[in-house]
């Protein structure tokens, strides 16, 4: 640590301590922040930070549970199914520790997510009024574009979720492919009109949308706020993409548009599917030097949670340890200092962006690939190898032999051979499904070219 870093470090500590003693806490009732060593000891059950949705006064936990990355187990045929027993435990644990916002979709987890959430919530023993359910109209396939199909999807959601109203309903992921799909999915068929009627009737308490992609669609939605009265909007924001030349990816732009209109903000992908926690050792050191006891992930959560207009931050917590870590971070939230914020947005973002990882968040929207590829599996393996330093640039790299072996053997372990990148026929059917706008076939080809060079020894 050089002198500059040291000064920065001690400065931060002092600032944090000062903040803590003032007890500045957003919506936190007792306002007491003596919770510094929050990596030891039990997780508090009564210290969760809450934010208020002004519309009906919903008191929403800053940590929302994304029901997309659920733990799996193998069934008798060796296929992945949801490990419901574990899911129930996670759900109950989250509720016990103050989480009250659950976000699902008819499309998630091979279509099994909503039912799984319905079961878990019922099994938790909590009352329906104790928590908020968010689900979506995920009518992505042209076969689902009609009004009837849209209504049927909504009614099915109620049935799976074992409820007669939805707290937060979203038009799922508008923006991909421009305005065309918005017209086809929601406008021309009258589905949005129908949803607004349901809002009037109280079957939908809040109506909003989630956005990825073409900023023109976002601007259209903002321009029509007076007409549709969005009760909330779900956007992707994190410190790496806070400022981005592409407005559709710039968290700052999307966020500020909502602030202007007093629309509560729901944050998705605060951790980019784990990409902001699974970072190279060098980056881990960068974080840990500042706060040795805090997880790398906690920075991303504190960063986005510190934005005052944020209603809740969704996290798809597969493992109990993820949940515990996030609960610690947000029980209560310790807001970032301005210095910390700048440090994340500038230095840290630049550092993380300097690694040639693929922007895949492992959301599996591209799956199943009709040709059997495991697209996220391939990208996750590649990124893992980038972060571990196992993507050598040439045979002259000093760890070439070791890295080559680790990459190739690890590749066969992570992805069955018949599902690897060399089977991509470039049909491009996956492209519209990717919320991160990755040119999947091109990236697959890039990975495959790298694999070929490793195998043939021509790197």
């Amino acid at each position: 640590m050089d002198r500059r870093d040291f000064l920065k470090f001690s400065g931060t500590t002092a600032a944090t301590a000062a903040l803590a003693s003032c007890g500045v806490q957003n919506g936190n009732e007792d306002g007491e922040v003596d919770y510094m060593g929050h990596h030891e000891g039990p997780i508090p059950t009564d210290k969760m930070t809450y934010r208020i949705n002004p519309k009906q006064g919903d008191k929403v936990s800053i940590l929302g549970y994304g029901w997309m990355r659920l733990p799996n187990k193998k069934d008798d045929d060796g296929k992945d199914i949801i490990d419901q027993e574990q899911v129930n435990r996670l759900c109950k644990f989250a509720l016990d520790h103050g989480v009250n916002y659950f976000d699902t979709s008819p499309a998630y987890c091979r279509g099994m997510s909503e039912e799984s959430l319905g079961i878990a919530l019922e099994a938790s023993g909590y009352k329906r009024s104790d928590y908020f359910i968010a689900t979506k109209l995920s009518n992505f396939s042209p076969s689902q574009y009609s009004l009837e199909e849209g209504i049927a999807m909504f009614e099915r959601s109620l049935e799976y979720l074992r409820t007669d109203y939805i707290d937060y309903l979203l038009l799922h992921s508008i923006g991909g492919g421009g305005m065309g799909p918005v017209h086809q999915r929601y406008l021309d068929n009258g589905l949005l009109q129908w949803l607004m009627e349901q809002r009037e009737a109280g079957r939908i308490r809040n109506l909003g949308f989630s956005f990825h992609g073409d900023v023109a669609v976002y601007d259209w939605a903002m321009a029509h706020h007076d007409e549709y009265h969005w009760d909330f909007v779900q956007i992707q924001a994190n410190y790496v993409d806070w400022e981005n030349e592409d407005k559709g990816r710039s968290g700052k732009y999307l966020y500020e548009e909502l602030v202007k209109r007093n629309i509560p903000v729901v944050i998705m992908e605060p951790l980019l599917g784990g990409r902001l926690s699974k970072v190279p050792d060098h980056v881990v050191a960068h974080f840990k030097q500042r706060k040795p006891e805090d997880s790398v992930a906690s920075w991303a959560f504190r960063y986005i949670g510190s934005k005052p207009a944020v209603l809740t931050v969704l996290s798809g917590m597969t493992y109990m340890e993820h949940l515990e870590d996030n609960l610690r971070t947000y029980s209560p939230l310790e807001p970032l200092t301005e210095e910390e914020q700048n440090w994340l947005e500038e230095e840290t973002a630049t550092l993380i962006k300097s690694y040639p990882t693929i922007d895949c968040n492992d959301c599996k929207y591209c799956m199943p690939c009709p040709y059997g590829l495991d697209i996220p599996g391939i990208f996750v393996h590649y990124n893992k190898c980038v972060n571990k330093g196992n993507v050598p640039e040439s045979q002259q790299a000093k760890n070439y032999q070791k890295a080559r072996r680790a990459f190739l053997i690890g590749y066969d372990r992570s992805v069955p051979r018949l599902r690897q990148a060399n089977h991509c026929i470039q049909c491009r059917e996956c492209i519209p499904h990717c919320p991160q706008q990755i040119d999947i076939p091109r990236e697959l080809q890039r990975v495959d070219n790298f694999v070929e060079k490793l195998k043939q020894g021509t790197l």
Binding site: C109, M367, C369, D412, R413, I425, Q426, Q445, Q456
Partner: protein, 514 residues
């Protein structure tokens, strides 16, 4: 002492050569490849003069020590016989000379007729190779996979998983049958196989008649107790006559070790007077080789999986089912680069399976066809002949597959790709593809418009009437430049059309260089 040295060497040879046969990583071959190359039949077929001279000289000096140390099948029989813990279990029997020499002559005849595999059925090294390849190698690989699973658990890359699959049911049956016959013979009578069936044993027996050294009776000390004969696994000691049939003796040293009178020595045989020989080579065939003729051929099984259609995507996640590839009906066999021609492979390969086990891409498997029974052939359902690999050519001890470098290997045309219109994705599903062209290591495949008259004009596509058409309306199909194609099977293996690929390889009778 002599026996201990012999035993140590034998076990060492046996273990190492078995490892050589099961090793799939290519490590063993770098150090132990010579062990396969000094085996008699491979040396003979490869015209490996050095190895042949070595074996013949060794036999002239010390008798059939080769059969006791170098031959893995011989040592295996000793191991089986050793398992039978019965004392004094053998007795002298006269040589079955007619049978021995008939088989030798017939085998020589098949070699002269350029069919190596028939002899290969009883050649000791290839017989052992098949037993190991079909029965031991899968166990070795399973054990490796266990270690790989453990390594994976500990995030180590020391071991990696390999596919274990039945490469040929016929080869398995043949190997099990020969193993059973040899095991029974070894259990009951020691080296019966080596001294009645094995043509190498017979030939080395002939040479060893001129051997300088061997076991000799000390007639002054011998009390004719017969203990030596009762422990002779070659059944070649006639105590009454004080005669040793040196052509059957494998120099195991049992007789010397067992003799309580110290009346048996390893020594110079020049003083030994041969009694009238009890048998001569006979041209007259016995015509009874039921073992060979009774081998029924079983058709290979193709695993046809039920087809699962991909439903339109409405939810996220999950993996599409993959239909397994089936073997296309090839008109001509594909043989590995370096094998020169089907004919060369047929005449030189003893079907020892070494190359098949060495193939890291699961391309080689034993043939079921009668004229090249159990010799290696190529198919591409599980992988393709990768451009950086020449391992089969490096391991072959017989010159059936001659050594080729990586550079040579990518210039050898073992076959050419053939396109099947109706199976091709752009034709069948109207979707763009081009994977075969993309992955062809020889750049022998180009994509051309399916629709007649469609052509490219700078950045634009135009139809036959020169009207511009959008890019996505143009479907491209692969066309093959047969002159450039090397027949590696990348296109066939990776083709998205399943179970039968829309592009597959036909072999060439004689390989060419491009």
């Amino acid at each position: 002492m002599l026996k201990k040295i012999r035993l140590t060497l034998a076990i060492l040879f046996w273990v190492l050569i078995t490892w050589l046969l099961v090793d799939f990583t290519g490590t063993a071959h770098a150090y132990l490849g010579w062990m396969a190359k000094i085996q008699f039949v491979p040396a003979l077929l490869a015209l490996n003069v050095g190895a042949l001279l070595f074996v013949v000289t060794l036999t002239l000096l010390m008798g059939r020590i080769y059969c006791s140390v170098i031959c893995p099948l011989g040592v295996m029989q000793d191991a089986i016989a050793w398992l039978r813990r019965k004392k004094n279990k053998y007795s002298y029997s006269p040589a079955k000379s007619t049978l021995r020499y008939t088989i030798l002559v017939l085998v020589c005849a098949t070699l002269a007729l350029n069919v190596a595999w028939i002899g290969g059925l009883i050649f000791p090294y290839s017989t052992y190779g098949r037993i190991v390849s079909t029965c031991v190698a899968p166990l070795y690989k399973l054990a490796n996979n266990g270690l790989a699973a453990i390594a994976e658990h500990y995030n180590s890359y020391a071991f990696y998983e390999v596919d274990v699959w039945l490469k040929s049911i016929t080869a398995l049956i043949v190997a099990l049958l020969t193993w059973a016959i040899i095991a029974v013979l070894a259990w009951r009578g020691g080296r019966t196989w080596c001294n009645t069936i094995c043509p190498v044993g017979t030939l080395l027996g002939l040479i060893s008649k001129k051997s300088l050294h061997g076991p000799v009776f000390d007639l002054e000390k011998c009390n004719s107790c017969g203990l030596c004969a009762k422990n002779c696994k070659s059944a070649c000691i006639n105590v009454k006559e004080h005669d040793i049939d040196i052509s059957r003796c494998v120099m195991c040293g049992n007789c010397m070790e067992k003799c309580r009178q110290d009346a048996m020595h390893f020594g110079n045989r020049s003083g030994v007077v041969l009694p009238s020989s009890s048998g001569k080579g006979s041209e007259e065939g016995t015509g009874r080789r039921a073992v060979l003729t009774s081998l029924a051929l079983l058709a290979g099984t193709a695993l046809a999986k039920a087809q699962n259609k991909v439903e339109p995507k409405t939810t996220d996640g999950g993996l599409a089912d993959i239909i397994k590839k089936e073997k296309p009906k090839r008109k001509k066999l594909i043989t590995p680069p370096g094998s020169l021609s089907i004919r060369n492979l047929r005449t030189h390969c003893t079907a020892c399976q070494l190359c098949i086990d060495a193939c890291p891409n699961d391309v080689l498997r034993p043939s079921n066809s009668l004229d090249r029974f159990m010799q290696p052939e190529i198919s591409y359902e599980r992988g393709y002949c990768r451009p950086e690999c020449n391992r089969c050519s490096q391991v072959c001890p017989t010159s059936a597959i001659q050594p080729v470098t990586i550079e040579e290997r990518t210039a050898i045309q073992v076959g050419h790709a053939v396109w099947t219109r109706d199976l091709c994705v752009p034709v069948k599903d109207g979707k763009p593809c081009g994977l075969c062209a993309n992955k062809c290591p020889a750049q022998a495949i180009q994509m051309v418009p399916l629709q007649a008259g469609v052509h490219q004009d700078g950045w634009h596509w135009r139809d036959a009437d020169n009207q511009e058409i959008p890019r996505e309306k143009v479907l491209l199909i692969p066309v093959i430049n047969e002159e450039k194609c090397i027949g590696c099977g990348a296109c066939e293996n990776l083709c998205p059309s399943n179970p039968l690929s829309a592009i597959y390889v036909e072999g060439h009778e004689v390989h060419r260089e491009i």
